[in-house]
Amino acid sequence: MSEVDQGDIIVPGEKVFLGQMRKDLAPVYRRWVNDLHVSRTLGIINDQGLPMTDQDEEEWFEAARKDKSEVLFGIYERESGKAVGNTGLSGVRQQNRSAEFGIIIGERSSHGKGYGTEATRLILDYGFTVLGLHHIWLRCVAFNEAGIRVYQKAGFREAGRFREAWQFGGRQHDVILMDILAREFKSPVLQDLLGVPGRE
């Protein structure tokens, strides 16, 4: 297994790039999710999805690969080519031009380096510039303060909150909704890279 194989650079950033998800990295993806420090802010921890087995991981990978309403990327460190996380847009619907955003920075050593913020910007760029989405939204537990800061830096705004909708650590936490519209987002990479005219 070569974690340093760069794969295809699909959306290039400065510190990270978005490339394809890779089946040979499935054990790495599984390891990330089984790290409670990482998954404590993810839905899977309370959906009775943990611990994840190799077989669960393969099934998830196959389902995600075939689901055309889901766009998934691997996040790779630019310098080393090392896989550090995944990000995706789910429920991509042509008719509504809307999608839900999700991200995981699985390698703990990659936390606090701005990788999440950049990867978020890159996938928003893909969603708005390439897919032509009008609207992207996300859900996040209120205690994930680092995540919320990242999303705000990337351009998301709070849209509302479900009160006490998440139990963790023996108490109920709010779930925060955030959203961003295409007209509020300035393409950091793809518009220049692809030579597409800007939004009027």
Binding site: N46, R93, N96, G160, E164, W166, Q167, D179, L181
Partner: protein, 215 residues
């Protein structure tokens, strides 16, 4: 509204009328397979489907096969509590209601409802069926919170949910599109402690049980 064809409703006799959650004007009973064509007919009502955002969520229009699969899923899934809504006076089925995603450690669920019969709308049936379903969710299932998703164009439904006790939790702006106009997706929620059981607490003698325990 354009009606393709009229579905003959099976008259409900007292024998097969299981009143699971009784209200004043409507009650919640079981979903019935022989009514599947009627459920399909409701789901294929374009006005309903666009207002609830169904078109973008599922394959539309719904075929008989889709309907059978959907019914089987409802019936066998232990994470969905689905009820048909019946008019008390006539026993006629007028819609359905459901709590989706129950049984997780979260003690939360998503609420959904459709009053499919056009003649049954505007009578407060939706509001009452919502209260009865919340009662089931909080009193019987012991849920902590119930939430829903609705489009901002469905004003009548938003009012019914508010009357039943839901509060707006937020809205994601311009999340959908109909006839070239963007509309918001509205989220609402309600917590168990904000809900007063209209029926089941008295019906099942829950206060008496508590007192019995205390002594």
């Amino acid at each position: 509204m354009i009606r393709g064809r009229v579905i003959k409703k099976t008259p409900d006799t007292l024998i097969d009328r299981d009143v699971v959650v009784p209200g004043e004007r409507v009650y919640l009973g079981q979903m019935r397979k022989e009514l599947a064509p009627l459920y399909r007919h409701w789901a294929n009502d374009l006005e309903v489907a666009t207002k609830v955002g169904l078109i973008s969520r599922h394959n539309f229009p719904m075929t008989d096969e889709d309907e059978r699969e959907w019914f089987e899923e409802l019936r066998t899934s232990r994470s969905i509590a689905a009820f048909a809504v019946y008019e008390h006076k006539t026993g006629d089925p007028v819609g359905y209601t459901a709590l989706i995603g129950i049984g997780s450690t979260q003690r939360g669920a998503e609420f959904g409802i459709a009053i499919g019969e056009p003649t049954a709308r505007g009578k407060g049936y939706g509001t009452e069926a919502t209260r009865l379903t919340l009662d089931y969710g909080f009193t019987i299932l012991g849920l902590h919170y119930i939430w829903l998703e609705c489009t901002s164009i469905n004003q009548r439904a938003l009012k019914a949910y508010e009357r039943a006790g839901f509060k707006e939790a937020g809205r994601i702006r311009e999340a959908g599109e109909l006839a070239g106009e963007r509309y918001d997706t509205v989220f609402m929620d309600i917590l168990a402690r904000e809900f007063e059981s209209p029926v089941l607490r008295d019906l099942l003698g829950i206060e008496d049980m508590r007192q019995g325990q205390a002594t």
